[in-house]
């Protein structure tokens, strides 16, 4: 992946994978998401993560970011198929750009039982520079952003603390080329 995080990553854990992040600019009109999702399911491609939001109200444009898996040949075919959809302006594989940035946001609610757990959680939260959204007696909610890999790593580290309960939501990766 040529994509880099907008946040520094504690450990360089990028792996070579068949993962691709596609950035698609579309007319924001009814049914556009269904067209894209239908294209993926109909042709047997996978969607690992999906993010859709209006990015230009005046021009009525949305940006859709799709994380998918597949060989290069499959990804090229997905892009060609996406670009055939009438409301699609462009579809780009961020990995093909010389420079691109990606980020994901994750909200994590952690329930803990004792101070020792609290300390460990605080410690990891500090290393990963997560922002505290809310803290009560035995519940803390963090917001962490960065590459998906970085968030995975944070979650793996939290996993090493026994006896805590974690509930989370992730936005899926979003990305931008330069």
């Amino acid at each position: 992946m040529s994509s880099t995080s907008v946040y520094p990553t504690p450990i360089n854990a990028f792996k070579q994978s068949k993962r691709s992040v596609l950035s698609v600019i579309v007319d924001n009109e009814p049914g556009i998401l269904a067209r894209i999702v239908g294209l993926f399911s109909g042709r047997g491609y996978n969607i690992e993560a999906l993010n859709v939001t209006v990015v230009d109200v005046k021009k009525n444009l949305s940006r859709i970011t799709i994380e998918t898996l597949g060989e290069e040949k499959v990804i090229s075919q997905i892009i060609a198929q996406l670009e055939k959809l009438v409301p699609v302006h462009s579809a780009t594989n961020l990995a093909n750009l010389s420079e691109s940035y990606e980020a994901e946001i994750c909200l994590i609610k952690i329930e803990f039982e004792n101070d020792e757990q609290d300390q460990k959680i605080l410690n990891f939260a500090d290393i990963y520079r997560s922002r505290t959204v809310q803290k009560r007696q035995n519940i803390v909610v963090y917001e962490i952003s960065g590459t998906s890999e970085r968030i995975n790593k944070f979650l793996d580290d939290l996993d090493t603390i026994g006896g805590i309960k974690v509930e989370l939501v992730r936005s899926g990766p979003i990305g931008l080329g330069i």
Binding site: G38, K73, Q77, V86
Partner: protein, 590 residues
């Protein structure tokens, strides 16, 4: 307050159709399109053809579009009206046929309530149209219709659907004419107008270097217009390169020309498939490397440099990786190739590919389309050959259903012009041919339109005979009657131990009486001595005719590349045995 510049949605639709120079519409009325039918009642520029089932409307629109080069238009009601056209829309999408389907929808305020004859039309038709719309605001109707026609006919053509709720048909707005609409380019996807000079130069250089080149031409050439076909003929004549076409490419190049190797693929000619297998340069002109053409992919034309001209980016490198490609219109590209050759005075005269033609002529000696016609039972191949001989001097359009008769028609009927051959290739829709003939005859009232049919396919849309009779369309339905779903039976024979599970069509109607009951004409040939007379009689009658041709019930369609086999592993006759390993692999394919 009434404003004379404002029109109802129904009137806007009619104005837009007139603006788009639509003169024929195929349709079937119902509750959700009554306002449009009311508008149709009070006008005379648009001829409405009342079909007997909506499937007939969509195939007729396809036949109209294919035979005329114009956009075919149909009008259906909500719910079952539109679900009945799903097959035809898919067919048009697969075969790149420009059609616009107008469907009625329940009134806006009832959408989502499971109202009577409501269905999620845009949801159901999304994967089987090039694009579709639900128009909720009458002020958007004009531009939506004009964009729909533009999208249907631009780039790689296809079906577009416009769903109009009943209240929108009554609501009023201004009409915006076609010339006042500026299309947004990214939505039209017309392909590049600039020919890739590099591609042209590379191609000409490779033609000069190659020893065994071949043109592989598909339906894209047809969709690029008659000019594409003219340029192709020039190029082939200049270079003396052999040419093979796909099922849909038939007619882009004259079938009787000496450079033509005929159709390739599963039931293609031996010489065409062998030439594809052994060539060192393949020039793909608007074909999509379909599985029916390539056979086993890992053995597909292993030693060739491949060039691909296709307006559809997604057809490039989808099934077969090519060395050079361009996404520009075929007519433009071929024209540029021809003028590059002329302006650089490149002479292919000394490069006649003599060895290559020698090899091809060796393959031709196999006479892969040979059959033995006895003196009693009519061989289906012979029926088509005679039909061709007896109609080739006429201005003829041929449609087909799907199955053995379709392949025999492709093999034995020769086409000299594009748009004369109308068949369901990609989807393989039984029941396509007769309504398609209705459409072709509407577009070409003075031509001879023949539906080459099998009795099983014909039964699938038989109701449309009434349409042909009502509009005095003298279409000819030429049934190769073998009382079997012949192609199903053939596969059962080859792959399933001749266990003919449910492929015998019992309780067939008497097609002659059936024709008479519809006020059409029925004729019949039971044996070889009656064949020519029956064909001549059929042609001479200026009314819809059903010709019931009794053919050999057990005849199979050869040559054949069995599923899972490669081009050089063709079966030439029933005496050829298939490689058992391929047979097992082929069984799981389609």
């Amino acid at each position: 307050m009434a404003n004379e510049n404002e029109f109802t949605g129904a009137d806007i639709l009619l104005k837009a159709l007139k603006d788009q120079e639509v003169d024929t519409i195929f349709g079937y009325p119902g509750g959700a399109v009554l306002p449009i039918y009311d508008a149709i009642f009070g006008q005379n520029f648009l001829k409405h053809v009342l079909v007997r089932q909506e499937a007939g409307a969509v195939h007729a629109a396809e036949g109209y579009a294919r035979s005329s080069g114009k956009v075919g238009v149909l009008l259906v009601t909500s719910g079952p009206g539109v679900t009945n056209v799903v097959t035809g829309l898919t067919d048009a999408l697969m075969d790149s046929i420009p059609i616009v389907c107008i469907s009625g929808q329940v009134p806006s305020h009832l959408i989502g309530t499971d109202a009577f004859q409501e269905c999620d039309t845009t949801g159901i038709t999304r994967p089987c149209t090039k694009h579709n719309y639900l128009v909720k605001d009458v002020s958007k109707l004009s531009e939506t219709i004009h964009e729909a026609f533009k999208i249907a006919s631009s780039g790689r053509p296809g079906p577009v659907l416009i769903d109009i709720p009943k209240d929108v048909q009554f609501a009023k707005s201004k009409y915006i004419s076609k010339k006042d609409i500026s299309f947004r380019e990214h939505r039209i996807k017309a392909g590049s107008k600039n020919v890739d000079k590099n591609f042209v130069e590379e191609l000409v250089n490779h033609i000069k270097k190659s020893e065994r080149p071949i043109f592989y031409v598909g339906g894209g050439c047809l969709n690029s217009g008659h000019e594409a076909s003219q340029e192709l003929i020039k190029l082939v004549n200049k270079t003396n390169i052999p040419i093979t076409t796909t099922l849909h490419g038939l007619g882009c190049f004259p079938g009787e020309n000496k450079s033509s190797l005929g159709m390739l693929g599963m039931h293609g000619n031996y010489e065409a498939n062998l030439a594809m297998n052994k060539c060192d340069l393949m020039i793909n002109v608007g074909a999509r490397f379909d599985d029916r053409v390539t056979g086993r992919l890992d053995a597909f034309s292993p030693d060739s440099i491949k060039f691909h001209i296709d307006i559809d980016q997604s057809s490039i490198n989808k099934n077969v990786k090519v060395n050079f490609h361009t996404n520009t219109d075929i007519a433009l590209t071929l024209k540029e190739i021809n003028s590059f050759i002329d302006s650089n005075s490149i002479d292919f005269g000394d490069k006649d590919y003599n060895n290559w033609w020698g090899q091809i002529n060796e393959w031709r000696k196999k006479e892969c389309l040979h059959y033995e016609q006895g003196d009693e039972v009519i061989k289906p191949q012979h029926a088509i050959s005679r039909l061709y001989e007896l109609t080739k001097q006429k201005d003829t359009f041929v449609t087909t259903e799907v199955g053995q008769h379709q392949m025999w028609a492709a093999q034995y009927y020769k086409f000299s012009k594009p748009n004369r051959w109308i068949t369901s290739g990609g989807l393989g829709t039984m029941g396509f041919g007769m309504p398609a003939a209705v459409g072709a005859q509407m577009a070409n009232p003075d031509s001879l339109v023949i539906d080459i049919a099998g009795e099983a396919s014909f039964l699938m849309n038989i109701q449309e005979i009434a349409t042909a009779v009502q509009y005095k369309l003298p279409i000819k339905i030429f049934i190769l009657n073998n009382e079997y779903m012949g192609m199903v039976r053939q596969w059962q024979e080859l792959l399933h131990g001749s266990r003919y599970s449910e492929s015998y069509v019992d309780a067939l109607p008497d097609f002659k009486k059936l024709a008479e009951s519809f006020n059409a004409v029925g004729v019949r040939a039971k044996n070889i001595s009656e064949l020519d007379d029956t064909i001549n009689e059929m042609i001479s009658i200026d009314r819809p005719v059903i010709a019931d041709i009794w053919v050999d019930k057990k005849e199979n369609c050869f040559p054949m590349i069995p599923s899972g086999a490669a081009h050089h592993e063709m079966l030439l006759s029933k005496y050829d045995k298939e490689n058992p390993e391929n047979q097992e692999k082929g069984k799981v394919l389609v």
